[in-house]
Symmetry: C2
Amino acid sequence: MSGEIETLTKLLARLPGLGPRSARRAVLFLLKRREQLMLPLAEAMHAAAKAMKACRECGNYATEDPCPICTDARRDKTVMCVVEEVGDVWAFERSGAYRGLYHVLGGTLSALDGRGPEDLTLDKLVERCRPKVGDEGSVTEVILALDATVDGQTTAHYVSDRLQPLGIKVTRLAQGVPVGGELDYLDDGTLTTALKSRREV
Amino acid sequence: MSGEIETLTKLLARLPGLGPRSARRAVLFLLKRREQLMLPLAEAMHAAAKAMKACRECGNYATEDPCPICTDARRDKTVMCVVEEVGDVWAFERSGAYRGLYHVLGGTLSALDGRGPEDLTLDKLVERCRPKVGDEGSVTEVILALDATVDGQTTAHYVSDRLQPLGIKVTRLAQGVPVGGELDYLDDGTLTTALKSRREV
């Protein structure tokens, strides 16, 4: 293996879901498709790295700053959805079910990984949610869309505490049986929650 | 998702071992590490695509053509190891157990995938193995190191037939219990082969 290939393999192996072996396979795959895939991929990666910026308002990645979601006049600026990562913004946008603003925290609080409140964009969130003069376009509801994990829920509690002085309605996503989910494959926790939060039909 | 990210995700998703979801995760991972990983990776990919050539002799990828293995004066030029893919050359080189030449076929014969002898570098192999004037540096042994699959073995038979008129010794890799292999996890075929090819200790 020559130096060029070794460098490329090592860098590729750092991607999530790839290890040294699969990176090697990917490099061979690329070398066989130089014009159709390898050069376009290198070009696309370079272009994205140069063009994409983190939005100074919400933290989403976009070519503009502030991002198109923050500047879109048709979006509801009174609702703010708090998520952990940019990937969550993409997931909501794919679903098409949400037309408000976003705020990317940049992770969760985690005692284990040593991530405290100062590592998240919490101050920015509080600033964005602070009632504006004349109440024009102020945020009236914050939706906490954090992972249903221990870290996610701890973070949700913390964020909710930080927002309380502002007197804004804070909600969180419903927990229950996922659409298409089969009951006998569900874990006990989900089943218990779904039962407790049952609704009249 | 902006256009740049979509393009990058689609191209990444074509790599073996990655799908649309893992490609998206990889893109987010990259965007978070722009300077340390994303730009170096784009650069390494571009450099490798530009620098690597398929060796006109053996088919191995290298920055020089013929490749360093073909031109290495210390290597044994009387033995030629026939493999399917460049990855196999790398595997042998990693093992350090082989010091002869290689010949990359570029695949196997496959009736199912419609790959015939003309799709492989068979003519080149026969040409390379043809006895040279004065017998100086002629190949005396061809090792067929092809996969122990149906396609691999069919190809081995075919290659061996093509080489027969040259009167060269043709060998193949031993089949048997892999080093570190546990007997009760082995398939019947391997166990039968290992028993048939048993050797005195």
